[in-house]
C-alpha cells in the first residue's frame, strides 16, 4: 500500500545530516517484515472479503456465485436489525468504556497508595484479563443461569426464597449481564494503564500541594487527573477499539439472542454469514463496520499521534 512512498521521503529529515543510503533504506527494511505479515494475514483476506461482499456468495454455493454490485449494501442500509445492532453496539461501548474507566481509575488510585503487597494485588487484579474471553463467556452464562446460576443462588441464600430471575432473557437484564461480564474482564486493563500513569507522576507538585494544605480530593482533582490525561486517552482509545470488536463473550453468553435482544454488530455478522448462510451479506456488513471503526480509530488516534509526533517533524 503506502510502502512505495517510503523511499523518496525517508531522506527528507536526514537532509540536515548527510543523506546516506542507509538512512533512506533502513525504514523500509525495518518496517517491511512486520507490514508484510499484517498484509498477508489481515490485508489479503479483507480484500477477498471486500470482493465477496459484491457477490451473492454463500457457504453452500461456494462454487457458483456472481457479481451483484451494491445489492448487499443496499439491503443492509434498509435492514432495521442492522441499525438496532449498530445502535446497541454504540450504547454498549459507551457504557462499558465509561464504567470501566471510572472503576479502573478508582482502583488505580487506591492501588498507587497501597503500601503492602502491591505486587500481589496487581497480579490478582490482572487475573480476569488472563482468562480466555470464551471461558469468561461460558462462566458468566453459567453465573447468570436462571435455575442454578451463582447470582440467583446468592440471592436465594440472602433472602431465603428462590428467585428465578431470567438474567440472560429479559430485555434490559440480558444487556446488563453481558455488560457486567465485559466490565469484569476488561477493567483490569484500565487499572494497569491508569496505575502506570499515576506512578509515573513526579512527586514534587504533590509535596508542594501538601505544604499548601490541599485535601486529598483537591490533589486528585487538580493534580493527578489533569496530569494523567494522556494515559486516559490511550486507555480509552484501546478499549473502545477492543469493545467495538467484542464478540467472544457475547456470542457465548447470549449469541445476540433471544431473538435479537442483545444483538451487537459482530454477533449479527456471524448470524448472517455463518448461521444464516449469507456470507456475502456478512462481508458487506463487516466492511461497513470496519470502515466506521476506521473513522473512529482515526478520530481517536489523531489526538494521540498529534501529541506524540509534535515537534518531531
Amino acid at each position: 500500500m503506502t510502502v512505495t512512498t517510503l523511499a523518496p521521503a525517508a531522506g527528507k529529515r536526514a537532509s540536515t545530516r548527510s543523506v546516506s543510503r542507509e538512512t533512506r533504506l533502513l525504514p523500509i527494511a525495518f518496517l517491511l517484515p512486520g507490514f508484510l505479515v499484517i498484509l498477508l494475514v489481515v490485508g489479503f483476506p479483507m480484500l477477498y472479503s471486500l470482493y465477496l461482499s459484491f457477490t451473492n456468495y454463500t457457504l453452500t454455493s461456494a462454487k457458483s456465485f456472481h457479481w451483484i454490485w451494491f445489492q448487499n449494501y443496499g439491503t443492509l442500509f434498509h435492514d432495521p436489525t442492522f441499525w438496532q445492532a449498530f445502535g446497541r453496539t454504540v450504547l454498549f461501548m459507551t457504557l462499558a468504556t465509561n464504567l470501566e474507566f471510572l472503576i479502573g481509575l478508582g482502583i488505580a488510585q487506591l492501588m498507587s497508595k497501597a503500601i503492602r503487597g502491591r505486587s500481589l494485588l496487581r497480579t490478582i487484579i490482572m487475573m480476569p484479563m488472563m482468562f480466555a474471553p470464551i471461558l469468561v463467556g461460558f462462566q458468566f452464562k453459567w453465573f447468570f443461569n436462571a435455575e442454578v446460576g451463582l447470582v440467583n443462588n446468592i440471592l436465594f441464600s440472602l433472602t431465603g426464597t428462590a428467585h428465578i430471575i431470567p438474567w440472560l432473557i429479559d430485555v434490559p437484564l440480558g444487556f446488563i449481564s453481558i455488560l457486567i461480564a465485559e466490565i469484569w474482564m476488561s477493567t483490569p486493563f484500565m487499572v494497569i494503564i491508569l496505575e502506570a500513569g499515576i506512578l509515573s507522576l513526579p512527586t514534587e507538585p504533590f509535596e508542594a500541594a501538601e505544604v499548601d494544605g490541599a485535601s486529598g480530593w483537591q490533589k486528585f482533582r487538580h493534580l493527578t487527573l489533569p496530569m494523567i490525561m494522556p494515559f486516559i486517552y490511550t486507555a480509552l482509545a484501546i478499549r473502545s477499539l477492543d469493545i467495538a470488536r467484542a464478540y467472544d463473550v457475547i456470542s457465548i453468553m447470549t449469541g445476540g439472542g433471544p431473538g435479537s435482544r442483545t444483538e451487537l454488530i459482530w454477533t449479527y455478522v456471524y448470524r448472517l454469514a455463518f448461521s444464516g448462510h449469507n456470507y456475502a451479506m456478512g462481508s458487506a456488513m463487516s466492511y461497513v463496520t470496519v470502515i466506521i471503526s476506521f473513522l473512529f480509530t482515526w478520530y481517536l488516534f489523531r489526538n494521540v499521534i498529534k501529541s506524540r509526533w509534535e515537534g518531531r517533524e
Binding site: 500500500m1 503506502t2 510502502v3 517510503l6 523518496p8 527528507k12 529529515r13 538512512t23 533502513l26 512486520g34 507490514f35 505479515v37 499484517i38 489481515v42 477477498y48 472479503s49 482502583i107 497508595k113 502491591r118 505486587s119 494485588l121 496487581r122 497480579t123 487484579i125 490482572m126 487475573m127 484479563m129 488472563m130 482468562f131 480466555a132 474471553p133 470464551i134 471461558l135 461460558f138 462462566q139 453459567w142 442454578v148 443462588n153 446468592i154 436465594f156 441464600s157 494497569i192 494503564i193 502506570a196 500513569g197 509515573s200 494522556p230 486507555a235 470488536r245 464478540y247 467472544d248 459482530w266 454469514a273 463487516s286 471503526s293 488516534f301 499521534i305 501529541s307 506524540r308 509526533w309
Partner: protein, 304 residues
Amino acid sequence: MNLALPRREKAGYKQAGRRRNRLDTLRDVALYVIILGFFLPVLWIILTSMRPNVEINTRPPVWIPAHLDFDSYKILLGMPTPEGAFGMGAAIPFVQYARNSTVIALASTLISLVLGTLAGFTFARFSFRGKNGIFLSMMLARAVPGVALSLPLFILFARMGLSDKILGMIIAYSALNIPFTAWLMDGFFRALPQELDDAALIDGCSRWTALLRVDLPLALPGVAASGIFAFLTSWNEFALATVITRTPASRTFPPGLYEFTGQFVTDWRGMTAMSVMMLIPSVIFVALVQRQLVQGLASGATKG
C-alpha cells in the same frame, strides 16, 4: 520517564514510616474488598474444578464443598483416578493442546516482539512521508475482529497449505500482535533521548548496532509489557483458532474448552480444571514481569 516509577514506588514505602491515620486504613480496606470482589469469580472457578460433581448445578446452592479432590485434573492428564470419577476430559488430548498452545503462543510472541520492535523503532527514530498512514493502517488491522477475518483467512491459508498447521497459527497471531507492540515500542523509544542515538552514530555505530546496543537495553520494560499482551492474546484467542485448527494436530486450548459442552450437558468440572491449568502459565508470567509491565506502560503507552 521510566526513572520516575521507582522513585514514586519508594515514596509509597516511605509513607509507611509516617503515622497512618484512620483514612489510610479505610482506603486499604476498600481496596482489598474491591479486589476480592474481582477475585470471587476466579475463586469460584477454582472451587468448581475441585468439588464433587453433585454440588455443581444445584438449587438451593451448596456453598461449602463436602470435600475437594483433583480428580478432574487427573482425568485431563490421563492419570489413574479413583473408581467412579468421570468427566469429558478423558476424551480431550490435553497434552497435545498444551504443546500446541505453548509453541504457538511463544513463537508468535517472539516474532511479534522482534518485528513490532523494529517497526516501533522506525516510527520513533525515522521521519518519512506516509508515516501516519502506515501507523494508522497498522492500528486498523487491530480493529478487524476475528469473526470477520476467520473465513477469508481460512480460504487463503487453505490455498497456501497453512490451514490446520501450527505454522499458520504462528503467522496469524504474529500479525495480530505486531500493531500493538509497534505502538508501545514507538512510545518507549520516543521517551529515550535522541542524543543517545546521535552519540552512538558519531562513535561509528550503524543505526542497527545503535538499536541493539543502546536503545533496546533501555527499552526492555517496554518489551516486557508488549510481551505480556502478545502472549495473553495468543494464548486465549478463539475466533481464528476455531476456524483454522480443524483437528487436534494444531488445536489450541480455547477451542478445546468448547469440547466440554455437549448437546445437553456441560462438564463444568472438567472445563474449569482445564481453565485453571491454562491460567497457571499466565499468572506466573504476569507475576514475574508485572513491575516491568507497569513501568513499561508508564513510559511506553503515551509519552511523546
